[in-house]
Amino acid sequence: MSPFKQMYDWIDVRIGAREIVKKELTGYLLPRNINEWYSLGSVLLVIFALQVLTGMLLLVYYVPDAEKAFRSITYIMNELPYGWLIRLCHAVGSNMMVAVLFMHMLSTLMMGSYKGPRELNWLTGFTLFAVVQGTSLTGYLLPWSQLSFWATTVATNSASAIPVAGPYLVEFLRGGKLVGPPTLGRFFAMHVAVIPLVIAALIGAHLFVLKRTGISSPPFGGVETKNPWPSQSYRYQSHPGGIPFFPNFALQDLTSICIYLAIFLAVVFFVPNLLFTPEAFVPANPFKTPAHIKPEWYFLANYQTLKVFPSELLGLSVQAAAMTFVALLPFIDRSPERHPLKRPLFLACAIAGILLWVGLTIWGHFS
């Protein structure tokens, strides 16, 4: 008997490992027509794990002090063995996480997987999306460069457009009237302690509701495309005759993860500065404002939206309304149909929305 099997038997006798494996892996059946888009959740879990790992490694050398932060990042990037790799993985990974989240949400939208009983899956996922952007924003300041300093100045200043509470909110966010050392302190605490815990909790909640509802069937492949949920009582959606999660779909997950890692590493090694402007390598100077400050690519559409509207409050209000609309989409779109081609209104809105978002992003980039 191999040592591995002996160990497995030893564990099985104590905690019933074989039963868990059968229930959660080999006996966990998925729809036969499941597609590659379903593996994006696993890719996101890997990205989050990598962000936590690289973030912890950066914490060893990063100094969250306005006098030392930029110098510590310069040290990590230039002198620490493989520090550049860890830092670039963290910085590129944060962008990739947002990109993959976009794709995950888009596939959920297109396949109508947000519809009942999966409203909670959508809400937890949507909240995750917002919180991930929060962690990107707080992490953006930490290098204490000209780019991060002024981007945070303008970003926090936008909150002042909110009537009455605006100025107090800005001061609360900054820890003072202006962006300064207290801002760095609180953004650092949010970035390394509070937000990762919130993200972990939300991932837990997302996976919990996924386990309770069961995985949805894609509306493709010649099967019934309408939502099968009776909506009067709780029902776990099982897939009798489906394919086992392990090894079949686990291998699909692994394929997608490897493809993601190939793209991720290609960016890290070949175009690492795709995401940085020269201001990102100049220490923060509160007395010297760079000529143009642009947000990261995934905020460009919002940036341009604010410029399109005559007042900042109106721009923020439209974004808030739109955000609420998307968050509550499962409660607004009550139709049982899930196939995108059988939902022409939805499809038209989605495509127009994507094109508009891309257009605003390009416009924001060149404006």
Partner: protein, 276 residues
Amino acid sequence: MIRTPKNVRTVLHVASLCALLLAAAATWHPALAASAEQPETVCIQCHSSMEGKLGAPVGLWRKSIHAENGISCNSCHGGDPKNAADAMNRSRGFLGAPKETAIPAFCGRCHPGVMKDYLSSAHGRALGLGGPTCVTCHGNHQVLKASLDLINEKSCTRCHSFERARTIRDAMQQTEGYIIGIDRRISGFRAIGVDTDRLGKSLFAVRNRFHTLFHDVNVERVKAESTQINAELGKLDRDLKVIEDARAKRKVAGGIAVFCMLLVAVLVHLLKKTYD
């Protein structure tokens, strides 16, 4: 179902509205709305609205190396740049325009080394006797960056023949090109986050030493100094080569890593096929 035109219009209106909302909703982020710029000084505000001799300096200054480096009117002429009433107040340090013989001292407040070189040169010794001052070659408001381009036939022949100046310029040409090339490489590395602090300081010192030759008219000394400066630039060149080699090695390692990931992806995909 056949839609009436009215239905189609309604659908399009709703689609447009939803598209706008959806696009704007991708995130709720206090977006970065404006690009802030440094406020202009009162000197610029007033003089830019003036015509002729009093307004011309503003346009010239905007194209100068001083403007590029944030050196504004008050940096040279003094006065209070934030208060129009005190902008030309002598008690607030306003100096106005210097007389011709005072120009080297005027510029030398920030460029003392260059002033020393100039004063000891044939040009400096002719100060007040019809010889050139700083602004003769560098311009007064459209101040030009010190470079070999300033030694040119058109400029030099205003006072004397170009022959000797040409010999000096040719001797320095290679070094100038070397400095520009290294400066470009250092700037390129700086823009992508490489710590070029030490290299930048070394180049700054070498460039300053080289620039002291600009006011020298001793051909042999210029040649000898240029050789030494070239040797120092060679050292900087080697340091930059080390950085370039390290980055090239990273790309090779990255290529291998990407290839391995794609290979594993293909193998796992093929393995998955065996279970389908």
